[in-house]
């Protein structure tokens, strides 16, 4: 890891967005992920070094979150810092100079309007180098299938917070596996268990965002 990578990783992990942000207090008036990324790219750093820094920072905060050592606001602040850095990488993604690990399609299933958990998973997975296609909430199986058609090599994440919407999750997994058996499907949400994931044929269940990111890095990349 280069010095640039380590610095970006620290700023992302600590949620230091830009110089104007007074948080965290010990980094007050210092450059944030925004300025640091721009300066690094201007001085010739490779975009992949920045991406590695984002990935490292998000992986570290995601792991601490899994261990209940930090909580949702910390993760949201890190995600915001990551976004500030990623904004500078956009042209490099478009030119193909830096590559994503893959595409992750995510949505909350039909009948369910909860999205905080889904958004946290999106942020951590994006921070781990994946392009996110967020379909939103109350998403039917057909919408997932259309998105898979547009991104044939994607992995898919389904979220549900209500026990009443678990059947919709089951139907969506069945529809995906019927039409696109090779597509990896990850599921999560408060009422979901590993047993339920096995029963409905999902490839992965994770109780936290980092678990989903780890699975994608090892099994689906």
């Amino acid at each position: 890891m280069s010095e640039t990578t380590d610095r970006i990783a620290l700023l992302v992990k600590r949620g230091k967005i830009n110089k104007a942000s007074p948080f965290p207090p010990d980094l007050k008036e210092q450059d944030g992920a925004d300025e640091q990324t721009k300066a690094a790219l201007d001085s010739g750093a490779k975009p992949s070094e920045i991406l590695d820094g984002c990935m490292k920072g998000m992986q570290e905060i995601g792991t601490l979150f899994s261990q209940n050592k930090v909580f949702v606001p910390d993760l949201l602040m890190s995600a915001k810092a990551m976004s500030a850095a990623m904004a500078h990488l956009k042209p490099h993604f478009q030119s193909g100079e830096v590559k994503r690990k893959g595409t992750f399609i995510i949505g909350t299933v039909t009948g369910d309007l909860h999205d905080i958990g889904k958004n946290l998973v999106s942020m951590v997975v994006e921070g781990c180098g994946w392009e996110i296609v967020d379909l939103g909430v109350d998403v039917g199986a057909d919408t997932f299938l259309e998105a898979i058609e547009q991104h044939p090599d994607c992995a898919v994440g389904l979220s549900a917070l209500l026990t009443t919407t678990m059947p919709a999750m089951s139907q969506t997994v069945a529809a995906i596996k019927e039409k696109s058996p090779q597509t990896r499907v990850l599921i999560g949400g408060a009422p979901i268990t590993r047993e339920f994931a096995d029963k409905i044929g999902a490839d992965c269940y994770s109780p936290d965002p980092q678990g989903a990111a780890n699975y994608l890095s090892t099994a689906a990349a």
Binding site: G111, D112, T163
Partner: protein, 237 residues
């Protein structure tokens, strides 16, 4: 024929709720004084702004005890059967009757938090969302406290409160519970998937009777393994 023996509506302002910054921070997972900046500041800001956007309303209905019976894994009110599962039925078993309730803090805070969560300040949005959830719980507890006065007249005590979606009671049973209230009671409606609108609402039942008691550790009979409150309890906070 009505199966309700007593019904009471309540309302309260946000200021009446026993809600301070420590409770909001704890609900987000932070132990005492350990939340990083700007979280405590955002909690203070949200507490100051909340009264304008929050109207607490609730209704508590005591069912006629002659209609209520409790089985091994269900509670019956005449022809209406609540398949609560064994855990809740065991807690309600010694009750002479049950009280069904609905409570909401209205849509104000959830509208603000949703806009922020999807906009440029998700941290603030999450803080307001957490505050709204805690305000809803505090409103139920406040109103349940008022119901204790009614219970005292009958020398009754209360069990813990139980809601569809928890402790093995399917959230689909919201439909049975809502059938005991007139449509749109307290402005609360139910979606096809049994999601309440406003989202910051709580419905449920409480057992009433001379020989019931409130258990101090409700996590022991809850099945939500990933709940933050359980995780914090296990962590010793």
């Amino acid at each position: 024929m009505s199966t309700i023996s007593f019904s009471q509506e309540f309302s309260a302002s946000f200021e009446e709720l026993p809600l301070g910054p420590d409770r909001i921070l704890a609900a987000m997972g932070y132990p005492d004084s350990a939340a990083p900046a700007p979280v405590p500041e955002l909690v203070q800001e949200a507490l100051c702004a909340a009264p304008k956007h929050c109207t607490c309303r609730g209704i508590f209905q005591v069912l006629q005890s002659s209609n209520v019976s409790v089985g091994k894994d269900f509670i019956r009110n005449g022809d209406l059967r609540f398949s609560t599962g064994k855990m809740i039925a065991a807690q309600i078993k010694k009750s002479e009757t049950i009280c069904v309730f609905l409570t909401t803090i209205g849509p104000g805070l959830e509208t603000i938090s949703r806009a922020l969560l999807h906009g440029d300040d998700p941290v603030k949005g999450y803080v307001i969302d957490t505050l709204a959830s805690e305000a809803t719980e505090a409103a139920v507890d406040l109103f349940a406290g008022h119901m204790l006065e009614y219970c005292a007249e009958n020398n009754w005590k209360m069990t813990n409160r139980f809601s569809p979606g928890y402790c093995g009671w399917s959230v689909a049973e919201q439909k049975n519970l809502f059938s005991l209230f007139p449509e749109n009671t307290c402005g609360i409606t139910l979606s096809e998937s049994c999601l309440m609108h406003p989202i910051k609402s709580v419905s449920g039942i409480i057992g009433l009777g001379k020989n019931v008691k409130k258990q101090p550790y409700p996590c022991e009979f809850c099945t939500m393994n990933n709940c933050i409150k359980r995780k914090l309890k296990e962590k010793g906070q």
